[in-house]
Every structure is written in C-alpha cells, then in structure tokens.
C-alpha cells in the first residue's frame, strides 16, 4: 500500500502541474484549451526525440519541452482562441476549435512517431529507499521537480507584479485595457505559460512512462476533473491533483485497471452532485 501511495504522489505531482496550467488558462484567462492533453503528449515526444535521437539528458529535454509547448500553444492561441473571440462565440466555439486541434495533433503524432507505445531506453539505476520502499529515482526526481515548479508558479502568480498583472487583466479586462495594459499580449502569455506547464509535465512523465499518440485525451480529462473539482482554485488543484494520483495508484492495485477511471469519474460526478445538493438545501434552509 505504501508503495502505491508513493507512486501515486509522484504521478499526482505531475497531475498538479498540468492541471495548474489548465486552471491558469481557464481560471485566469477565461480560455478553454481542450488541446491541453495533446500538449502534454507533445512534451513527452519532445523529450523522447531529444533523448533517443540526439542523446541529450532527459532533464534538459524537459526544459526544451516547456519551450516547444509554449510555442505550440501560441499557434493554438492564434488558430483557435483569436477567431472564437472575434466571432463572439465564447467558450462553445473554443471547445470545438481546440477539440479539433487536439485530434489534429494526435494524427500528426501518429505520422511522425507511429502509433506504437515508445519509451526512453532502459537504464539500470540504484533505487532510492523511502520508508523502506524502493522508489525509481526518475519518479522521485519527477516528484521534486513538479512540486518545486508548482510552488514557484503559485508564489509567482500570487505575489509578483507580473503574476498580479495577469490575474487583474483576466478579471477586469476592460479596466486593464483602459490603463494601457497590452491586454492581448497578456492573454497570449497566460495561454503559452499554461501550455509550457503542460509541456514540462509531459516531459517529466516521459521519464517515468512510455508514450503513445492517443494518451492526450486521458490527460485532458485529468486536467478537467482536477481543476473543476477544485473550482479553479490553485490550492484546490494541488489537493485534488495529489488525491487523484494517489487514488488512481491505489485503485489500480485493488481492482481491474480499466475500471479505475470509471470509479474516479463516477466519484467526481457524485461529488459534484452532492456539493450541489448541499448548497441548494442550505440556501433553502437559510430562506426558511
């Protein structure tokens, strides 16, 4: 059980990072990016290619994955977000556009890297021992990197000038525009930063698991569930993300792995409805 929890913590930390990126785009920028999962996969392939073709260190690859995915997100922004905003279609058009782009990316992955599962070359390493449990060092490093980046991101968004500027521009767009903030560029920055976080999360994932073109959809669902269950609060995302990772690892060891996601999704819907029932009944009680 302890082994599962530790492995859940490491995967959960990556979920936190990718869900933070999604929450930044949706919560701060009010933009929907359903290509977020595919962006994670793009990050994975970047690391895979750099390591296998150029022999680079995987963690250098992780940094470059962030850069590449930021650029990729800039393209997504221009192709999907800009036209949906100018058409006044709101979220619905963004959902359609980014969903299509997501499928397009899957096809491109298939063309470039083939449809098979591929992984980094196996390397014999001495496992770390945590509480007597052997832990793959790659998982340990992924955990620490993801936690550190998430912490830096949250502190930066909350306290730095540029972080506050982003939040204020998202909330009072017209006011920001009126005082000379280059609003359009701030939104581009928000979107690309979200993408970069997905890319880094993908890069870290690549060090601990193989990749195939269609994995992205699963990561998208993770991002959606975590950030909506957390009601777009950054601290909430941290809690729910870790919980998601641990629940997944533990359930996988207890039941048929293909049922794990079913259980988690159903639990998510149940939590949503319970929350709704509680809030409506408490409203009614207050009225009475």
């Amino acid at each position: 059980m302890l082994a599962e929890i530790i492995s859940g913590l490491s995967i959960g930390s990556v979920y936190v990072l990718l869900a933070l990126g999604f929450t930044l785009t949706l919560g701060v920028g009010d933009m929907v990016n359903l290509a977020h999962g595919a962006t994670v996969v793009a990050g994975m392939y970047v690391v895979y290619t750099l390591v296998t073709a150029l022999g680079l260190n995987a963690y250098v690859g992780v940094v470059l994955a962030g850069v590449v995915c930021a650029l990729l997100s800039a393209v997504v922004y221009v192709v999907a977000i800009v036209p949906s905003r100018s058409a006044g279609g709101g979220h619905n058009l963004q959902v359609v556009y980014t969903l299509v782009l997501s499928s397009l990316l899957v096809i491109i992955f298939q063309l470039v890297w083939g449809g098979q599962l591929v992984g980094l070359p196996f390397r014999q390493t001495e496992p770390w021992r945590i509480l007597g449990v052997p832990v793959d060092p790659a998982r340990g490093i992924a955990f620490f990197v993801a936690v550190a980046l998430s912490a830096v991101f949250m502190v930066w968004l909350r306290y730095s000038f540029s972080g506050r500027l982003m939040r204020m521009t998202g909330r009072y767009t017209e006011g920001a525009y009126a005082i000379g903030v280059p609003v359009q560029w701030v939104f581009v920055a928000v979107f690309c930063l979200g993408g970069a976080m997905a890319g880094v999360a993908g890069g870290l994932l690549m060090t601990i698991q193989p990749v195939s073109p269609t994995l992205g959809f699963g990561f998208l669902i993770v991002a959606l569930i975590v950030s909506i269950a957390a009601r777009l609060s950054m601290f909430g995302v941290v809690l729910v993300g870790f919980f998601y990772g641990i629940a997944q690892a533990v359930l996988n060891s207890l039941i048929d792995p293909s049922l794990t996601s079913v259980v988690i999704f159903v639990a998510f819907l149940a939590i949503l409805s319970i929350e709704r029932v509680v809030s409506t009944t408490s409203n009614r009680a207050r009225r009475a």
Partner: protein, 585 residues
C-alpha cells in the same frame, strides 16, 4: 428566393433527393461504396447531433455513448437470434431516455456552456472506459456478428436513415418546436418569459437526438459486421460530425450536408486514391485543416455559427438586392405618426372591477439586503399603472416576482384571481402574464416574424401586427437598432394578446417621437382590456398616459394615486431629489 423559403418546397426537394439517391445507389461502384458509406455514417451522425448541438445550441459530447449502445445492442441481438428490429427500437428507446436523464441531471447540477460540455464528455469517458472492462462485449477486441450480414441491405438502411434524420431536422425547424429551441439557444431566460418550458424542451431535444444516434450506431455495426470500442465509441466520428455541423451551419437543415461534403469529401477522395495508412492520415489532416480554414474565414464576422449556409444566404440576398438592413423599418414607422396626435387615453375602469394582477404583501431579501418590503400592488383590466422610483427602488424586482423569475420570501402573487406564487415562469405566461425586458431581448436566430410567433400568436395575426407597425418587411433581427427591437417586442406582446402586461422601461433609449408611438400602443393595449404595469423613471413621459402612479423607494411603496396628486407629494419629490437638509432653505 421566396419559393425556397416555403416549407413545402423544402419537403419536396427532400423527397426528390431521397428518390434520386435510392435510384442512383445501385450504380455506385464496389470500390467506391465503402467510402460513401463512411460518408453516410458521418452525415447521419451530423444530423442527429445537429438537433442538440445546432438547433438547441448545446455542446453535448455524450453522443458516442448512444452510438456505442446501438452498436453493441445490434451485435448482441443478432448473435442471440433476436433479429435487427428489436435492438434498433430497444436501443433507440433506452438512449432517448438516457439522453433526457443526462440533460435533466445537468440541469439539476446547474451546468451550462463549458461545464455542460465537460459533464457530457466525462459521461462519454465513463462509457469508453467501462467498455474495456466488460467481458460480454469483448473488452478491447469487441465482438463480431456470427452470421453473414448483407452489405447492400446495410447501405440502403443507412441511406434511408440519413433521409429520416434530415426529415426530423426539417420537421423540427419548420414547427413551433424548432422556434422554441432556437429561442432557448439565444436567451433561455427570455424564452421562459414567453412561455417556453426550457427544461422540458431540452429533454425532448436530447431524447430525439439520443434515440436517432443509437439507431445509427446499430446500423453501422450491422454494416461492419462487428462492434468494437474504436468504431462504436471512437471520438473521431464525434469530431467529424461536430465539424460538419459547424462548417455547414449549425441549426440549419442544409448545414450538416454541406459540412459533411466539405469535411469528408476530401478525405474520401484521398482514401479512394490510395489504401496506404500514411495517405489516409494525411487526408485526415487535410480534412481538418480545410474545415478549420472555412470556419476561420466565416468567423471573421459575428454570427458565423451559421457556417456555409449563412454565407450562401447572405450572398443570395446581396444578389437579389433585398435589403437586410433592419433600420429601413424606421422611416415607414414615421408615416404612422399622424395618428399619435390624437392620444386618446381610454377611461379608467371602474374601481369595483377585480384586479387582473395582484402582488400582495411581498417581501424579498438577498442576504442582508431587503429589496422588497411588504409591497402590495394591483392592476385592473384596462388600467395603465405607472411604477416609478429611483434606481435600486425595486421596480424590476417587482416585475421579476410577478413573472416568477424571483421567488418572494413572504406574500403572494395572483393572476386573474388565481394564486400563482409557486408556479414557474413559463406557466405564468400561459396563464396570462407577458413582459418586455429593460433592454429588448430578441431571439436573434429567429426572424422578426418568428420572434412574434414564439410568443404563441397564430401566423395571420402575427403578420397583421407586424404590418400594422410597419415591420412587415423586416426579416433578420440580429443587429437591428433599438427602436426596431423594441417594436418587435411590442408586436409580440400585442399578437400574444395576454391580459397582463409588464413593460420594463419600454422608453429607454428612444427619441421623443418613438416614445410617443410606444405609449400610443400601450394605450391601445389597455383599451382592449389589458392590465398594464409600466415601469419607468421618465416621469413626464408616462404621467399623461397612466391612470394611476405607484412610487417605490428602497424596496417599499411610498406613494400611490392619481398622477397629478402623486407627483405633488413631498416624499415623492424627496425620493427623487433627496430630502432637504435640516435648516437649509
């Protein structure tokens, strides 16, 4: 052009096309048939999805669940020897119910827009994930039909289904139901205020769409001879279908067809030229890019949701020289101004007539803010009552309490003598309470005529009223100017002929001439026996037409009586101008 607009012409075209398609199908070569069948699958799916995604305008992503249920039901039933009809009908019924349940659950959770899309996406994911855990339906490998299926029969079935799906779309769009669904897409709150029962309509739409989708899944499985997660629950079909709807024109009859031809046509050609997997992937990329480019170009302007169909309509109008500019209406309205000179205020009804609408002792709190304090208001048939007061006095809240948008904490609302306090908004409309909104809320997907019809008037009456107000030639309502919007809304009220009318600031943003015309129609409505509650803060404008004035301040009624008396009262002047300071003079 006009002939094309007639519904009977559309049905005729559909029947001719269906006949032609069935007659020509045997000529289709063996090599091309599989590609065409794939196209028919996308086409059918697009039409089934258009019902909810296009007409109702909601991004429901759970459709593949219904498709999957249909597919697996077909294979299981054939293998069990229970034939084709049972699984088709069974799955259709099950999925219709399931669709209704899903949208009911989403409504109970208060999910709209993006969150509705995510909710349905996760329901789809639950289905896709659980399929791989069920032994009965072969997990990842799927299940095959043991007996030999007839590919030709399947193709004809699919062809027939496509036309049935088009017929369903056409039937919905040319009926009051389609009008109601489009009005929900534009503005659900305003739709409720004109008597549209949003919850019920949504359930019907999801049920029809879900049932149809299941049938398509079943026939596809019969055609393929198997059902497996990739075909029965793959996301590719969903995305192609949605793309086709958006490219062609969401919520139109021709849209999904045009969209499928554009989206799928390229891929079909490429697949027929080569069987190489690489080529088909490039073809898919090409398909998405072209579709995207089309949506992109169309979305350069607002209202792009109508896709290629919208573009064609705009071009046709430009060629035929018909004006699409709704401002043209105003000039003609000015002609009727001659009548305004004789403002004949109808006499006030005798005081023993029972009120048509009553608000009795209503209070309402929002948290710590008491917005209504024991408010009592009554309006008799044929009476025009002005409800005045400074901003934040609670005028609009009274209006919302009468229409049922807001539930009062205490007190009751009566319409024509019946207590309606607990009755939902759409039913209050059918009982006789009609309202106009502060900023005229038109349904911009509907024409001017449909905007009047959605209020429940019959066609002849609606045309008559539009003619009377000089709006007979106005078609499109998107982008109409304030006065035209206001007039269309008034036409809806006039044509609907409801005994109780609530007009929320009907004069806002109008010139003096336009105000006079609006007030004149208010008087005519009262003369025909309507009880009119006129909410305004332009005192001078409305005082002459009102039989009584009621003044509110800080959520309470502070004065009530004949206009001249009320306006002379000190507390009324204070409420508007502020009380004079002690000692100041």
């Amino acid at each position: 052009m006009n002939v094309l607009h007639r519904t009977s012409t559309k049905w005729l075209i559909l029947v001719v096309l269906a006949g032609a398609a069935f007659a020509l199908w045997p000529l289709v070569g063996r090599s091309v048939a599989p590609t065409l069948v794939n196209g028919l699958v996308v086409l059918f799916f697009a039409y089934a999805w258009n019902i909810v995604g296009g007409i109702l305008g909601e991004l429901a992503l759970s459709s593949m669940l219904f498709w999957g249920i249909g597919s697996y039901a077909m294979v299981l039933s054939l293998n069990a020897g229970t034939g084709m009809v049972l699984p088709i009908l069974g799955a259709a019924v099950v999925c219709a119910v399931l669709g209704a349940v899903i949208v009911r659950a989403a409504a109970a959770l208060g999910l709209t827009g993006l969150y509705l899309a995510v909710f349905t996406l996760i329901i789809y994911e639950i289905a896709a994930a659980s399929v791989t855990a069920i032994e009965l339906i072969g997990r990842n490998e799927g299940i095959i039909i043991y007996e030999l299926t007839s590919v030709d029969l399947a193709a004809y079935l699919l062809l027939g289904l496509v036309f049935i799906a088009i017929a369903v779309n056409l039937g919905i769009l040319s009926s009051p139901m389609g009008r109601r669904w489009l009005s929900i897409k534009d503005d659900a709150t305003a739709a409720q205020a004109v008597g549209v029962r949003v919850g019920r309509e949504r359930m019907i739409a999801y049920a029809i769409s879900g049932g149809l989708t299941a049938i398509g899944g079943g026939v596809q499985a019969y055609y393929l001879g198997y059902a497996q997660p990739e075909t029965a629950l793959g996301i590719d079909l969903l995305i192609s279908g949605i793309l086709a709807v958006f490219v062609g024109g969401a919520g139109t009859v021709a849209g999904p067809f045009i969209g499928t031809v554009v989206v799928f046509g390229l891929e079909a050609v490429a697949i027929n030229l080569s069987t190489d997997i690489q080529t088909s992937l490039y073809a898919q990329i090409l398909q998405y890019v072209v579709a995207f480019a089309i949506i992109w170009m169309l979305s350069a302007r607002k209202g792009a949701r109508r896709g290629v169909v919208g573009l064609i309509k705009r071009m046709l109008r430009r060629i035929s020289g018909r004006s699409t500019d709704p401002t043209a209406a105003v000039e003609e309205v000015h002609v009727t101004r001659a009548e305004i000179a004789e403002l004949a205020k109808p006499p006030a009804p005798p005081s023993d007539v029972p009120p048509a609408v009553e608000v009795i002792g209503v209070s309402k709190r929002f948290g710590g803010l008491e917005v209504l304090k024991d408010v009592t208001i009554a309006v008799r048939p044929g009476e025009i009552v002005g409800l005045m007061g400074p901003n934040g006095a609670g005028k609009t809240t009274v209006c919302n309490v009468i229409t049922g948008v807001i539930q009062p904490d205490t007190g009751s609302v009566r319409v024509l003598g019946d207590d309606v306090t607990t009755i939902p908004t759409p039913l209050r409309y059918t009982r006789g309470v009609a309202r106009s909104f502060q900023a005229a809320r038109l349904f911009t997907s509907l024409t001017a005529l449909d905007n009047v019809l959605v209020g429940g008037a019959n066609r002849t009456r609606a045309r008559e009223v539009l003619e009377e107000y000089g709006l007979a030639h106005v078609r499109a309502t998107a982008g109409a100017q304030t006065f035209v919007r206001r007039l269309i809304e008034i036409c809806r009220l006039v044509a609907a002929d409801k005994p109780v009318l609530l007009l929320d600031e009907p004069l806002a943003g109008l010139t003096a001439d336009q105000q006079a015309l609006v007030l004149q129609s208010v008087e005519r409505l009262a003369a025909s026996g309507c009880a009119v509650l006129l909410i305004e803060h332009l005192i001078q404008s409305i005082a002459p037409v009102c039989h009584r004035l009621i003044v509110m301040a800080d959520g309470a009624v502070i004065a009530e009586g004949l206009p001249a008396e009320v306006l002379a009262q000190e507390q009324v002047v204070d409420a508007y101008l502020g009380a004079p300071l002690e000692g100041a003079s």
